[in-house]
Each structure stands twice: as C-alpha cells, then as structure tokens.
C-alpha cells in the first residue's frame, strides 16, 4: 500500500516536473505561421508624397491618422518601412527634403524629424520651442539655400523656425505668439530671399510679416482692417494672393499682399454664381492661379486673373476629391479630380492652365463597399512614347488605400483594419450533407509521401528542398482556410468593426477577409453628421437551427461623440455580411446589456439604457416582452460615473410614462450608490468578469486535502481609484501624495466585499477578472517599478461542508440556493509582484469547459504579447513551499514575475500600436484562440497546458507506422528463431 502510494506520488511528481518544464508557451522557429498570422497595416492616409526616381524603387511616403509614417512600394503596395509614433505625437506635415530625407512635423508643430528615405532610420530630430499654440505648417522649399544648406521653414507653437535640412539645426526663429496673430500661411516666393507670414488678428485685421529667410529678420509688417470680418478659412491662390470669405460667407475676399502691401478686393458670391441659396465652402487644395468652391454639392473652379478678377472656369458635379497640383513637363502643372457616378469612379487629370482640357479621363469599377473617395493624390510618369502618364493614390471612405493606373486598380490595402474598435467571433456554417469533402482531400499516396517527408524532417535527413516542401505543405494546408466548421473549433470568423464604420469578417485560418460591409447606418448622412461605432454584440447564435439559420451580430453606434446623441443599430448576418435590419436615430445609448435570455428564434434579448436611465428592450417583439416580464424583478445593472466618482446600481420600475405608449420602454430606479470622496479618490478603472466565461468547478483542492470554495459571482465589479494628485503621468506625483485603492463590489446589492489600499502607487491600472480572481497592473512609486497584484476571493460559508460527518448527517448547506441577495461570508487572499514592463492590455485565456489552467496574456509596451501562467500569480506562493504545496504546483515566491522570452506568443513579431487582446475558446478544451489588434493584427492558437487532448501537428504518423512494421517483423523473426531453437532442443 505504502509503496503504491509512493509510486503514485512519484509518478505525479514526474508529471508535474514534465508540465513544469513547459510552464511557458513555446514555439520552434519552423512552427512560425502554422497556427498564427500577422498582418501589418498603417491606418487612414492623411498625406502622401511620391518619390519616383527614374531608376530604382518607386515609392510613396505616407503619414496616417494612426501616427504612422510609412514608405510603400508603388508596384505592389507593400510596406518598405514603417515607424509608429507615440499616441500623442500627431503628424501634421510630411515632405521629402534633399531627395533622401523624409521630413515629418508632429506634436503640434514642436517635433521635426528626418528619416532616411531608403530604410527609415531616423537621421535627426529637432525640438522646436514656442510659447503659443497655432496651426502647424511645414514647408520644404526646394530652392531655398543659405550657405549651401537647404532650409526647412516650420511654423508651430506660434513661432517660425528655419531649420537646416542636413542636420536639423535651428538656424533662426521668430516668435509670433506675442503678436496674437492667427497665422494662416507661410509664403515663400520662388527665388526670393523673403518669406511672408500672413494671418488674421481677431476677425477683422489681416497682417503680413515680411521676413528675411537668411536670418529671420523682420523686414516689414503691415496690418489692414477689414470691415466685413473674416470667416477664418484662407486659401493661397498664388504667392501673393490669399483668398478668404467674409464672416457672412456671402462675399469672396481676395487679399493681395504684394511686397507686403495689403489690398482687399471683394466680390459678392451672387455676382459669380447668380442667386444661389447654399453657403460656399472653400476647398483646401493648393492649385496655382485658381481655387475651388463647393456650393450646393457642385464644385466650381474659379480663376484669379492678374488684375484680381474672378472668372468661373468650370462647374463639375459629384466631385469627391481634388488633388493638389503637380508639375508635369515644361513648367506646366496639373491636378486630379475624382467624381462618382453609376457605381464607378471617374478620375480626371486636368492641366491648370486650361481646365476644360483633360489630360486623362478614366473610369474605374469600384467595390461599392468602399464608399466614397475621401482623398486623392496624383503622380505623373513619362510613358515610353514620351507622353505623360498618371497614377492616382486614393483614400476611400472605409480608410482603404488604392493605387489606380491605366484605368485599373493596381493594388489596394485594407487599412481600415488598423483602427479596430470591437471584435466578436462567429462560428462558421456546418458542413452540409452532399457537399463532399473527400474530393479535396489528398489521396493515400500523397498523404504517405507527406508523412515520409515529415519523418525525414524529424530525423534531420531532409535536404533543403525537402525542408522547403515540408514548410510549404504545412503552411498551405487547405484545412485551415475552409469555410465550414471544424471538429476542433479552430476555424471561426472574427467579426471586427473599424472606426470608419466598416465591418470585416476575417477567417481565423490565414486572416483573409471573407466579407466586408460598409454599414449604411454608420455612414455620414444629413441626419447623422458624425457617426461613431461603439460595439458589436452577438445577436443570434443558432444552436437548434444551426443548419438552416445564420447567426447574426448587433452593431451599436451613435451619431456624434456625446452620450446624449441618438443611437443607431444594425443587425448583420454573420455568414453573408448582409444587413438584415437597421434602426436609425432611436434613442441615446449609454449602455448595452445583453441579457441571458433568448427568444424562440434564439435571438438574444438586449436592454439598451439611454441617457435618461430608461431601458429599451430589443428585439421589439411581444414574445421578448413576455420573457422579459417574467424576469422583470431579477434584472439589475450598474453604471459608473467616473467624473463624479459615483457607482450606482439600478433595477427596473415599470413601463415608461410617456405620451406614446411604448411597451418596450422601461423606467429604472436607483437601488444603491457608492460615492467616492472626490478629494481623495478618482475612479480610473472598472472591470467585470466576461459573461461567456465557463467555470469548471467551484471547489479548489489545496495541498493538505483541504477544499476551498471559490466565490464565483457574475455580479462582481472590480474598481480601482487613485488619489487625484496621482492620476497624472508617472513623474508628476510623489509617493506620499499618491495611493491606489481597489474595491470588489457586488453589483446587485452594492456591498463592498473587499477594499485594499496600495500606498505610494498610481495608475494607469489594467485589470482582468476571471473566475474568483482579479489581476491588476499599476505603478509603484516607492520602488519605481510596475507591480501586478492578484486578489482571490473565497466563499467561507461553504468552507465547513468538507466535514464528511456533516455531509452524512445532512447538516451541510450544499443544497441551499446561491442567491445574489444573500450576504456572503468571503475571505480574500492577495499578493503583489514586480513586473518589468508597462502594459497596454491584459486578458486571460478562455477555454470551452474551463478545465485547462489559465494564462494571462499581457500586451506590453513593446507591443508584444506575453503569456504568463496564472500560477505565477497565486496568492498562496511562499518563499519555502512545503512538499505538499510543491506537489500541488505552487511556485516558490519571487519578488518579480519572470519574463521568459519563449513565452511571448507573438515571438519575434510586434503588434504595433497594440490596443486590445481578445480570447475565444476553441471546441477542443486544451486550446484557446487569441486575437490581438492594434495597427497590426495578430492571431494565434494557444494551449496553456499543452495540447493534452490531441496529437500535435508534429506527430509523425510515419514513425508510428515504421515502428509497427518493425515490431511485426521482429515478431516474425523471433518466432522463426524460437521454432528453430525448439527443433534443436527436440533433436538433442
């Protein structure tokens, strides 16, 4: 008996040792790309500069709304290099200087950087000081030289700077902040030594400063009042004429400032366009000698003649975008124009001297899911017949980037995927009977050949060609990209909502786009000027009718930024990407609560809370109301008012008291509220458990055969508050004046179950809540390191149930109902550890049944994702764990959490601009799917406790086969031998 138990113990230890050896997620280099994919994006392009030398790589350098500077290959649109700037380092200007440097101006005109054009190495960086705030303007004149140095003129923070383009030295600067002038433009006439700084003072004065570009000396300053007042916009028509509108927008005002002398010339709009009712809008495109005005949906090009006369050149309808002017051969300039019409886009390139002629007119078929054209950038090249050819880079409404050339789309980039707002997953369709899979599967010979190759690989006998063949075979596995459900649940659709209001369905196999939909409800329209997408929810997940009904998702958005703005709802079929239903301008939406009830068609009930704390029930069917009424008294929710420091609990009261009877509208009442003292606590983070999480067991068996009961409640809320002084960045508060307080609050009763203060700590706090524990990351000011803490919460009222005698006598409370109303007796355990890095996001792995041990997925500041076993964050860790504790898997306590390079799930890749991590369970219990998004996308499969329930991809069937054959052969041989031996025996 004792021996047996020893043996079992030894075996367990061995198992433990084996599993401990693989505490981390790890990957061999040749496994890259087998289960993961990585996609790189740049975001919506703001500005583009072409670099097309006669020989060598042709490229376009772009700056984007995601603060990315990228150099793209013009031939295929691939990224040559890319730099992602900090989140508050917004790029306001980009240009190429000296033909080898990319110059970027960012951070409100205070940081100027030069990047090497071929490889993106930063060459120099200049910090431009200024005291004011202003428009930031970057101008890289090609001909302006001082002592053989090319100058860059930058206006930012109220100062004008001249910077050497070779080393970034500031040669001179001139402060305009004290002049209270709102600078509009910097004009540098070609060939001259002067620059003009022009702008408005208030709304009634126009000022011109003439500056010597050699030393920054102010040569002349003129100011002239204007009685009508300015509208604020200004457009430079030529190097000495500025165009603006008066404050009533009824007159066009030409301001000429030749040699610093200001002259106004006003032209009533009705004189030019006749009596039209619309208000004109100046289009901000730099076209020499003329300008464009948008009026009543049409764009009118107006030329400014030498004497300041205005002359209408052309009127074009349905204009989507106009490019800036580019110079083509022999001193001429041209510009591009994009129009929409009958499902196509029409690209026209016109010379600036004669806008009635067309240099190019092309019509291109366009996927209507891309919306309208937002921006166009034109570039010319010399064709073989010496005529001018044009290529156009266009930015679409869905943030995608396309290159048009010779009437066709040469390449396109789905850069909307760089700004994902929310993600849900959907199952793929079930494989239907009749659709045979066998056809596509390889025959036996191919199968065997593949495995022989694999075997060669494992035995290290494979040649280089074989290795390549193996790799290709593994990567191009057809299985992975099938559009049907698989047995293990690895194939799914990731449905993502982007900031542009486009919905993409990505296949988890290789990340390919299955369908995409530009949501009509989230497009700019007359009724909805600034639509923003908020979240996606699972609307309908058919289980009973999985064969003939498609799942659908609910997309919630609102028209405008404020929470009072009217909401928009869309329901989209997850298989086809078609909008099934939409509701625009319903009511304001502050909170969406997916309820745990479904109707007979398996549509999930959702309660949408508006700004007046009324609940609106969806779907709007009487059946839904019936189900809802049954559970009426059991519905509770909470709201967090972070600015006021209040957390409130709500319950339903009754139908709305409105004039119109609305049976789907319900009034709510406050049932509890927690008010944090505003002078000492400020809410910075709130986290709850995921609704979809499955917990395998409530009991946790600890070393000495004791049982602890996890306190598992879906109604727990983790709240972190900091002292108001410590709510800023690191370095702004001292340890004495900053503290972090964390709470665990029951959201039904409003009871605070646990409260703990970390003195000398501050935010930002990133937290994740799972089962009965919460892990949070914050900054410890005393140690000046980041820390991670874990709180585990256990139910004490069930603790005495482990007494067998009581169980037998029936004196246990196992059958007593678990109620959210009861006051639980809980105990909490907590521990803190240092963590090296800043954190951008934390999530936890989810598995189908919740049996597999958990890993934390930590998105670090380095844009990598680290998988950290939850066992490292176990409050029962101690310096010297006992033998029993060691067997249980408790790791000796260390002050810091280990960073094991092999446990980076992103291995040597970066998910630039990482914003979020989403995990979804696969059907296979051991495996979970993790999707990380930011500017880049990364997807992988994780097995936190190794794949114990399936053979790995590496498993060599051929080796198994050979072994069996060898065994059979051996049996025969030995049989023959024994026969012979027996015969010999008998002869003896």
């Amino acid at each position: 008996m004792g021996v047996a138990s020893m043996a079992i113990r030894g075996f367990l230890l061995l198992l433990l040792f084996l599993s401990a050896a693989h505490l981390s997620f790890s990957l061999y280099e040749d496994q890259v790309g087998l289960m993961d994919w990585h996609q790189q994006y740049i975001g919506k392009v703001k500005e583009a500069v072409f670099h097309t030398p006669k020989s060598g790589r042709r490229r376009v350098v772009v700056s984007t709304e995601e603060n990315v500077i990228a150099s793209l290959d013009l031939r295929h649109g691939g990224i040559i290099w890319r730099r992602v700037l900090g989140s508050n380092d917004v790029i306001s200007g980009i240009d190429i200087a000296l033909g080898k440097y990319v110059i970027t101006l960012s951070s409100d005109g205070s940081i100027l950087r030069a990047w090497n054009l071929p490889d993106g190495q930063m060459v120099w960086e200049s910090f431009l000081e200024g005291s004011g705030s202003s428009k930031s303007l970057l101008s890289v004149p090609t001909s302006l030289k001082i002592d053989k140095e090319n100058l860059i003129l930058v206006f930012g923070k109220g100062s004008l700077h001249a910077i050497s383009s070779i080393d970034g030295d500031v040669l001179w600067e001139k402060d305009f902040a004290v002049e209270s002038v709102e600078v509009q433009q910097i004009v540098q006439p070609i060939g001259g030594d002067v620059a003009y700084v022009v702008g408005f003072v208030g709304s009634s004065h126009f000022d011109v400063y003439q500056i010597n570009v050699r030393n920054g000396e102010l040569l002349k300053h003129n100011s002239a009042p204007f009685s009508g007042g300015f509208s604020g916009e200004a457009l430079l028509v030529s190097s000495e004429i500025l165009l603006t509108l008066d404050s009533t927008r009824s007159k066009l005002v030409l301001v000429s400032f030749q040699d610093g002398e200001i002259n106004y010339q006003q032209t009533p709009i009705s004189d030019i366009f006749g009596d039209s009712l619309g208000t004109p809008v100046l289009l901000p495109s730099k076209l020499p000698g003329f300008f464009s005005v948008k009026l009543n949906g049409a764009v009118i090009f107006i030329r400014v003649t030498g004497e300041g006369k205005l002359e209408v050149l052309d009127k074009v309808n349905n204009v989507a975008a106009i490019s800036g002017a580019i110079s083509i051969s022999d001193g001429q300039q041209a510009f591009g124009l994009v129009q929409h019409g009958d499902g196509k886009i029409h690209l026209t390139v016109k010379p600036t001297h004669d806008s009635s002629a067309d240099l190019l007119k092309e019509s291109i078929d366009m996927d209507n899911q891309r919306g309208v054209v937002h921006k166009v950038f034109v570039n010319n090249y010399i064709r073989t017949d010496r005529s001018n050819g044009f290529r156009a880079l266009i930015v679409m409404e869905d943030d995608s980037l396309l290159l048009l050339q010779q009437g066709a789309v040469v390449w396109s980039r789905e850069d909307g995927l760089a700004s994902i707002i929310d993600v849900v997953t959907s199952e793929l369709p079930v494989e239907k009977v009749g659709v045979s899979v066998a056809k596509v599967e390889q025959n036996l010979f191919d199968w065997l050949k593949g495995h022989i190759l694999k075997l060669k690989g494992t035995l290290m006998l494979a040649s280089a060609a074989d290795v390549a063949a193996i790799q290709e075979m593994r990567l191009k596995s057809f299985e992975k990209s099938k559009l049907t459900r698989d047995h293990n649940g690895f194939r799914k659709l990731l449905i993502v909502l982007t900031r542009a209001g486009k919905l993409f369905a990505l296949h988890t196999g290789y990340g390919q786009v299955v369908w995409s939909l530009l949501l009509p409800t989230l497009r700019k329209s007359e009724t909805c000027k600034y639509p923003t997408g908020l979240n996606i929810y699972q609307w309908q997940v058919p289980h009973h009718h999985a064969m003939d009904e498609n799942p659908s998702v609910l997309i919630v958005g609102r028209c405008g930024q404020s929470s009072e703005a009217p909401g928009v709802l869309s329901i989209v079929d997850a298989y086809t990407g078609k909008e099934i239903n939409s509701m625009a301008a319903v009511h304001s939406i502050v909170q969406v609560i997916p309820l745990p009830f479904t109707d007979s068609t398996e549509q999930r009930l959702h309660l949408l809370i508006d700004a007046n704390q009324r609940g609106h029930l969806y779907p709007r069917t009487s059946e839904a109301v019936d189900i809802f009424q049954r559970e009426f008294t059991n519905i509770y929710w909470y709201s967090v008012e972070a600015d006021n420091g209040i957390i409130k609990g709500h319950a339903l009261k009754g139908n709305c008291n409105q004039e119109a009877v609305d049976s789907y509208c319900f009034e709510s009442k406050d049932i509890w509220s927690i008010v944090f003292p505003s002078d000492s606590e400020k809410i910075i983070a709130t986290v709850t458990r995921k609704l979809s999480e499955v917990v395998h067991t409530q009991a946790k068996v600890i070393a000495d055969s004791e049982v602890m009961y996890k306190y598992i409640s879906k109604n727990l809320l983790f709240v972190a508050t900091v002292a108001p002084k410590g709510s800023g960045e690191i370095g702004t508060a001292s340890p004495e004046e900053s503290w972090l307080t964390v709470y665990l609050i029951d959201t039904v009763t409003g009871r605070i179950l646990h409260r703990m203060t970390h003195h000398g700590s501050q935010g930002p706090v990133h937290a994740v809540f799972s089962e009965n524990w919460v892990v949070y990351h914050y900054f410890n000011l005393r140690a000046h390191r980041y820390e991670m803490s874990v709180i585990e919460i256990y139910d004490q009222s069930r603790a005495d149930n482990k007494d067998v005698l009581k169980l037998v006598l029936g004196k246990h409370n196992l059958t007593s109902p678990i109620s959210s109303y009861s006051r639980p007796e809980v105990v909490t355990k907590s521990q803190s550890y240092y963590f090296t890095y800043s954190v951008k996001a934390i999530d936890v792995t989810l598995t189908a049944k919740g049996i597999t041990s958990k890993q934390l997925l930590i998105g670090t500041i380095n844009d990598q994702v680290l998988a950290l076993d939850k066992r490292f964050l176990d409050p029962r860790r101690s310096l010297n764990p006992t033998q029993e504790e060691k067997e249980e898997g408790i790791i000796p306590l260390t002050d810091a959490l280990p960073i094991i390079p092999q446990s980076y799930v992103t291995h040597n890749l970066k998910v630039e601009g990482l914003r979020g991590i989403v995990t979804v369970p696969a059907k296979l219990e051991s495996t979970t799917l993790a999707f990380t998004y930011g500017v880049d996308l990364f997807f992988t499969q994780l097995a936190p406790s190794r794949t114990y329930d399936s053979l790995t991809d590496d498993f060599s069937y051929a080796l198994l086969l050979i072994t069996i054959v060898a065994l059979i052969a051996a049996i025969f041989v030995t049989w023959v031998w024994s026969e012979k031996k027996e015969l010999k025996e008998k002869w003896r």
């Binding site: 190495q121 500031v170 290290m460 500041i861």
Partner: protein
C-alpha cells in the same frame, strides 16, 4: 529667457558636458525651456551580444525609447543617441523597446532644485548608471532550439521505448531464465503446473492467498 539660450545649443551642451564630466560623459539633462528639461541618453548594443551580425531581429532603426509608459516615444539616431524634450522635474521611467533584447527600465530623477543633476538607475537590479548609456541585460531568444537528431532522442520517443521494451523482453528475458538455478526453475514450473490454468479467481488477491 530660454529662447536666447537655444540660439546656441552647441555651447550649452558643451557647458553641460563640462559640468557633468565629474558624474558622467553622456548623461545629460539640460534645462531646455522654462517648463521642462531635456534628457539625453544613448542606447548601445554591444557587438558581443549580436552574434549573428549587429542585431538578430531588427535594425537599430526599429528601436523605440519610451518615457513614462507612452507619454512620449522617440527613436534612435544612427549613433544610438536619443533625446526627450520638455520633461518636467520629477522621477521618470524610461523603457527601451527592441525586439531581440531585454532592456531594464530606467529610473531617471530630474531634480528641479539643482538643474543638471540627475540620477539614473536600472529598476530591474537597482544598479545606478554613471553614464546614461543603456545596454541590454540579455539577448532574448524567442524560439525553442530544435535539438539536432540523435539516436537518444529516437530511443526516448514513445515508439523507441516500445521497441526497446520489446527487445528487452525478447533477448534479455530468455537470458534471465537461462541464468536461473535449474532447481529453482523446476520448482517454479511445478508450482505453475499445480496451479493449473490461471483463472480469474486465482488472479484476485483473496483467492491467491488460499
């Protein structure tokens, strides 16, 4: 005014270098403007670490330097130098993000009282930095190394163990039997004969005792 100082930054830096020469050669915090200081530093990757060339995963151009968890991000110049501008007085944290290397975050104290005096220390091992030169603590290897093929690994695999066990049974067991004392052998055989055909009952522990 700060502006007038800026007009001659080279002299300023030289002056600072002079001031700081006792403390360091390249650690520098300069009063950049009225509301902040400038931190200069350098990231250096020793060639001994990058065995496979300069850097195994990315070039120096991909390295970012991050102040206070993302408050500002800067890049390295070709010589490895970086600068943060407009940093207020206080204790700050600088992190270096470089694929393939593990850098410890650095605690930087910018003192308001005596400008120019700074202290920097690695937070991982509390080692103070005399020079503001950040070096990786170690290289990071993101992949498991595949062990080269060896007979041992084949033997250790489940299939290898199976074959090995079989071989033992086939070749060693008869040897064991041969080495047995013939007396004992006979006795065992007799015992077996006595027991007869093994039945289920005889396999049960209770029955076997009787």
């Amino acid at each position: 005014m700060a502006r007038s100082w800026r007009s001659n930054p080279v002299v300023l830096v030289l002056f600072l270098q002079l001031c700081l020469s006792l403390i360091s050669s390249s650690l520098a915090v300069s009063p950049g403007s009225a509301d902040g200081y400038t931190i200069h530093g350098r990231v250096k990757i020793p060639p001994s670490l990058g065995v496979k060339g300069f850097a195994p995963y990315g070039k120096i151009s991909n390295i970012k330097v991050i102040l206070n968890g993302g408050q500002s991000v800067t890049f390295l110049r070709p010589d490895g130098f970086f600068t943060f501008h407009n940093v207020p007085a206080g204790t700050h944290l600088i992190e270096v993000s470089a694929i393939g290397y593990f850098f410890s975050p650095v605690r930087v104290d910018v003192s308001a009282r005596n400008p120019g005096k700074v202290q920097a220390a690695l937070t991982e091992n509390r080692r103070p930095l005399n020079e503001f030169v950040l070096e990786p603590l170690r290289e990071e290897q993101y992949y498991e190394i595949r062990e080269p093929f060896s007979i041992m690994s084949l033997v250790k695999s489940p299939m290898g163990l199976m074959v090995g066990f079989m071989l033992i049974v086939v070749f060693l067991m008869p040897k064991l039997v041969e080495n047995m004392d013939p007396e004992e052998m006979r006795r065992t055989q007799e015992e077996m004969r006595n027991q007869g055909v093994p039945s289920l009952a005889s396999l049960l522990p209770g029955a076997a005792r009787s």
